[in-house]
Symmetry: C2
Subunit: 353 residues, 2 copies
Amino acid sequence: MTAFSQLETPAVLIDVDRIEANLRRAQDYADSHGLKLRPHIKTHKLPRFAKRAMELGAVGITVQKLGEAETMADAGITEIFLPYNIIGPAKLKRLRALADRVNISVTADSAETVDGLSSTFADSAKPLTVLVECDTGMGRCGVQTPETALALAHKISQSPGLLFGGLMTYPAAGQVEANQSWLAAAREKLTVAGLASPIISNGGTPDLWRAHEVTAATEHRPGTYIYMDRFQVGKGVGEWTDCALTVLATVVSRPTENRAIIDAGSKSLTSDTLGLQGFGLIENYPDAVITGLSEEHGTIDLSNCPIKPAIGEQLRIIPNHACVVSNLFDEVTLISGSEIIETVPVAARGRVD
Amino acid sequence: MTAFSQLETPAVLIDVDRIEANLRRAQDYADSHGLKLRPHIKTHKLPRFAKRAMELGAVGITVQKLGEAETMADAGITEIFLPYNIIGPAKLKRLRALADRVNISVTADSAETVDGLSSTFADSAKPLTVLVECDTGMGRCGVQTPETALALAHKISQSPGLLFGGLMTYPAAGQVEANQSWLAAAREKLTVAGLASPIISNGGTPDLWRAHEVTAATEHRPGTYIYMDRFQVGKGVGEWTDCALTVLATVVSRPTENRAIIDAGSKSLTSDTLGLQGFGLIENYPDAVITGLSEEHGTIDLSNCPIKPAIGEQLRIIPNHACVVSNLFDEVTLISGSEIIETVPVAARGRVD
């Protein structure tokens, strides 16, 4: 019998005490360095945690999809940053509707995106704030050079219905100096050109505690920091005792001496390895290795475990990547230590568009 | 403008003509070999396709979770096989409630599971049919030898409230001969012991067209065959033109000459590689490689593409693994060729327990 034996598995447990500590730690860090925090809600998708982060000092939230923005706006959050190229008539219409009720800003990395935004907001009384997305090393979206950042900033500032808001990057983990150099060079070009850049938005949990080294940035957008996970602990960003999200699973089979099968597979833990061996850390059985996942089965190698779990035993697993787990569960159970508080719906789960 | 330009992306398109052809092909194959078909609905999670398979001759459906069984029972399906160890009071109670309204059977691979089932059904007027899960090579759940299969079959047949139903395996792909040998040996032991084994249930799409070689089996449980996917085509199980599920995505960025970013990431395509390079095949751009996914971005290498997609262009992607995609979308859009039929909810999506 564990404290959670009344819960059906697989289930997601969220420790609210750890949430509070994680939010405070990051806000205190940001405050001490004069950085603003605009946390990414993709990790938890829960309005209550978004609001709590703002109560503690965050200047707004970051979302990745219009559907997430709509859910958060419905919950009463009014400062929303959507760092994505919003493209196509249906999505532009939704963006315009959102802008009528909350303060929403977006990014663009191409003339095509800017033109779509401008034609949507040209007749709006309230201009849309648009930041230029910069590829400072990640190799994903973003303009490729400070020169093209300046050119696109010019275009935004000259486009009807739009306001140039600054620069945004999601940097490559660990490349703090390169990120800083890129942003500083772009900021310099903007200054010389007489273009004010009120926001320079940096992001990511992997380099959260080095955010102050990116002096060109005015703010940081961490996401995973609220839950932490096996990947972040591996990178030294947090401790195991900071991990607020665990997947509760049950041992459903012990086919051999050294094999256990649990009822959490890729539909609970996801196939994300993030380069790690195994699919999560099992609390109380740190020497066990989750060697494989199919959709509804997790296969565990117990060879190195002096004590081995029995059929029916519940296990708590810290996943490799917490954000993707949140997207798989319709509801999560809030806990405080070993006490269950309540089970709540994941409001912005499955907002694919 | 494509035929689907009015759809917001990412979206899942399901070609019903290909569904019909895939269902018929498998049923015709099974009929011609005197095999029964008990298709797995985990791939689509849609009652309409489960019903259509049964109209074409399937003897019932297979599900992997109680929640899936409940959804299918609600939709009027009455022959349900749940090949899983059902453990713990809450789940056993749900199983008993299901058994009161549909014909449901389950599997067990341990005395612990059998004891739980027996104590739940001991006072039931209708005994629960339980098959022994056999590990014929997969290395997941299942008894390890034909001898232990016989012993557990004995235990089931002597347990109040239970009826021994036969054997079940999810075999390792490609190990057809080993699977056949294992099952034949176990069946022989059961026969010698005077234990009737009405069902010997084999499974999997990878070896679907070799199912008749497993002469010990009475039935087959394919899942992915209804949609097919990049993995199955790679294994030669189907052709590209059999693939019924595609993910519709939009190019949101073209940061460099040879890079495109789409709005489908791991939240749409999943991180499942199944050992393949890249995360899906892009129709019309077969030389493009989806090299990386983050949650809401897919990164595409266009180096080998003579023609390259433009910002705003919609792409159709055949995913590596269709089943896991179904679990990520609240709704899918049924199509016939280039014509949209309707958008329907994925009834059994997210049934984690």
